[in-house]
Amino acid sequence: MSLPLEYYLVLSALLFTIGVIGVLIRRNAIIIFMCIELMLNAANLAFVAISRHLGQAEGQLFVIFVMAVAAAEVAIGLAIIVSVFKHRETINVDEINSLKG
């Protein structure tokens, strides 16, 4: 007895939306970062669910990829945040706007 696919997908969509909203409204770079992770994992969830549903392994394969990339991203991203903090003593994204044209 297993749960229907829709349940997983709805959960995944909810997680993703929470992530997007978090990225949009939070000002703390670390929180934004965590929200991005949330979005990635939402995608992972969808991958796994569909993979299970179709009975194919590719989806799970992609999850491994995503996790590896996410790990790399975390490493670099946190490093950037740390060095930004060192330079500007803040990780409030509103104050980091040197890309302004």
Binding site: N97, L99, G101
Partner: protein, 643 residues
């Protein structure tokens, strides 16, 4: 005749030029050596010229023509091919003798004249280069090689007129000479293009053979017939001659060219270079006869002769009088070649080279004595202090004035006589000019050598006869200047000169009327001119410049100011071009419009970029928000509207 002889003849002045030019640093301290090298180089050429002349004199078939004269292939591409090669016939040898003969004497004279000048070696280098270029001009066996010499002598003329380059007027004159000549060369170039289009060759032999064969061998380039084509070609070539030989309306450079050292004026601007145009037309006699454009040549010639003679009446600068006289005499030569009396035209070229060369050198001798004074109003009574100069100048003046039995008498009379046969009006203008010539020449003599001395006191004490190295060439030159006409010209159309050149030129029609009658008329006119000058100037100087406005409207004032031709050219041609180039083309069009458009485009892009950059707030979340909105909209569109 061997080709080697001609090569030695040609190369010798070039070697002289290279030695004096490249080693000027070492030769600088040694005037004698430098001058000797220069003169020796021309002397070798003179010897070769004499050999060539004698060879042809003995055997009229000993000419160097066609393939015999071939040296090497110069330019070849596609159908076009032109050689470096020689064409030596009677006409060439006559020119060679004039160039190297007069040239050698002038080199010798220059050794003394240029003594102590800073640019001594440079002077001789240029002079040798000139002789080299002039020799190329007359030796070439095709029009392009003639053009090489043509431009080469123009360059040397430029360099030598502006020899004293610290003087603004000298360099201006040099530049003017070169540029006016270039206007002529423009015509010469186009003439050559037309010739090549018509004959598919630039070689004299090929062109003249085809021209004599008839119209079938000639391509039609302009108009409907080969005659029109030939008319265009010959007239374009004549434009070149007008520039080089200082005819109306391009004569303006020659009087200014007197800024150069006087021997240069004698050699280049009297004896040789300026006669190149006459030589060119004589060389192309076949074409001019076919095209029938000689009439234009003759008319331009006779009008120039008259015009220049009128201007010469009122000049007070000894060299400028001679310069206008040269322009005028060149006009006679063009009358000669224009009416088909080619031999007579060339004959006048030869006699003129001697007597005008002589007169320039004597003028140089006067200047030498007078500390470079040129204004004849500040001379007078010089006869006693400069006896040799006076005597030789008198010989030259008598020769040009057409005194019986002297050179000018024979050659000028031949031309006038032939002119009578082709156009009476030309004859009358020519005769009037002969009168004016005698008048202004003797005005010059009487004012300079006779009457009371008007020399400034501090100059007066230094007036002296020139050294032997200068007066000896004068005396040597005076002999042919006086007698060459008699030697070559007795007998009119049956004279020795006519026989010598009969293979080169198409036979001219014998002019009607008795030769003796025409000689008598010419003599009377010449003597009348001298006598009139005697009555007016035997003991008074030309009037001072007019002071009141009324006199300034006088015709003579117009003449004294050379009809304001230079001023007219300057106001209506030179200045407008300069100003239009500066303000209209450069400042307005180039910088304003073209660059304006280019920079305008750049500025426009910058403005647009400035607008778009407002979107870049630098807040990453704003970018993400817009992205999310975009995705949502897309999704919504696909979910609800597609299908």
């Amino acid at each position: 005749m061997s080709k080697e002889l001609i090569i030695i003849l040609l190369i010798s002045p070039l070697v002289g030029f290279l030695i004096n030019g490249l080693f000027s640093k070492w030769l600088k301290g040694n005037e004698k050596l430098s001058g000797t090298i220069g003169a020796l180089a021309v002397f070798i050429s003179l010897i070769c010229s004499i050999i060539a002349f004698v060879t042809i004199n003995i055997d009229s078939n000993a000419t160097l023509e066609g393939d015999d004269g071939f040296v090497y292939k110069w330019i070849a591409g596609g159908k076009f091919s032109v050689d470096i090669g020689f064409h030596v016939d009677a006409l060439t040898t006559v020119m060679l003798l004039v160039i190297t003969g007069v040239g050698f004497l002038i080199h010798v004279y220059s050794i003394g004249y240029m003594h102590g000048d800073e640019g001594y070696t440079r002077y001789f280098a240029y002079l040798n280069l000139f002789v080299f270029a002039m020799l190329i001009l007359v030796l070439g066996n095709n029009y392009l090689m003639m053009f090489v010499g043509w431009e080469g002598v123009g360059l040397c003329s430029y360099l030598l007129i502006g020899f004293w380059y610290e003087k603004q007027s000298a360099t201006d004159a040099g530049k003017k000479a070169f540029i006016v000549n270039r206007i002529g060369d423009f015509g010469f170039l186009l003439g050559m293009f037309t010739l090549f289009a018509a004959f598919e060759s630039l070689d004299f032999v090929t062109i003249f053979d085809k021209a004599e064969t008839g119209t079938s061998a000639i391509n039609v380039v302009f108009g409907e017939t080969t005659k029109v084509t030939l008319m265009v070609a010959t007239l374009l070539l004549f434009v070149g001659a007008v520039g080089k030989s200082a005819q109306l309306p391009l004569y303006v450079w020659l009087p200014d060219a007197m800024e150069g050292p006087t021997p240069v004026s004698a050699l280049i601007h009297a004896a040789t270079m300026v006669t190149a145009g006459v030589y060119m037309i004589a060389r192309s006699a076949v074409l001019y006869n076919l095209a029938g454009t000689g009439v234009v040549v003759a008319w331009i010639g006779v009008l120039t002769a008259l015009f220049a003679a009128i201007i010469a009446l009122k000049q007070n600068d000894i060299k400028r009088i001679l310069a206008y006289s040269t322009v005028s005499q060149l006009g006679y030569m063009f009358v000669g070649v224009g009416i088909g009396a080619y031999a007579s035209g060339i004959f006048h070229l030869v006699t003129h080279a001697f007597f005008k060369g002589l007169m320039f050198l004597t003028a140089g001798s006067v200047m030498h004595a007078m500390a470079n004074e040129l204004d004849i109003r500040k001379m007078g009574g010089l006869r006693k202090k400069l006896p040799i100069t006076h005597a030789t100048f008198l010989v030259g003046a008598l020769a040009i004035a057409g005194a019986p039995l002297l050179s000018g008498f024979w050659s000028k009379d031949e031309i006038l006589h032939s002119a009578w046969g082709s156009s009476k009006i030309i004859y009358i203008i020519g005769l009037a000019t002969a009168f004016l010539t005698a008048f202004y020449m003797f005005r010059l003599i009487f004012v300079t050598f006779y009457g009371k001395s008007r020399v400034e006191p501090e100059v007066d004490s230094h007036v002296h006869e020139s050294p032997a190295v200068m007066w000896l060439p004068l005396v040597i030159l005076a002999v042919p200047a006086a007698l060459i006409g008699l030697l070559l010209g007795v007998g009119g159309h049956d004279s020795w000169f006519h026989h010598f050149t009969e293979d080169v030129f198409p036979k001219a029609d014998k002019a009607p009327g008795s030769v003796l009658l025409f000689m008598a008329i010419s003599s009377i006119v010449g003597i009348a001119g001298i006598a009139f000058a005697w009555t007016r100037y035997k003991d008074r100087a030309p009037a001072a410049e007019p002071t009141n406005a009324l006199q300034k409207k006088d015709f003579s004032w117009l003449v004294a100011n050379k009809f304001y031709v230079d001023e007219i050219y300057n106001t209506f041609i030179v200045q407008p071009i300069k100003n239009a180039s500066h303000f209209l083309l450069w400042k307005l069009f180039d910088v304003g419009i073209i660059d304006g458009i280019v920079n305008g485009v750049a500025a426009l892009i910058r403005v647009i970029g400035g607008l778009f950059r407002r979107l870049q707030t630098g807040v990453v979340q704003a970018y993400i928000l817009s992205m999310v909105i975009g995705i949502v909209l897309f999704l919504a569109y696909y979910l609800f509207f597609v299908n």
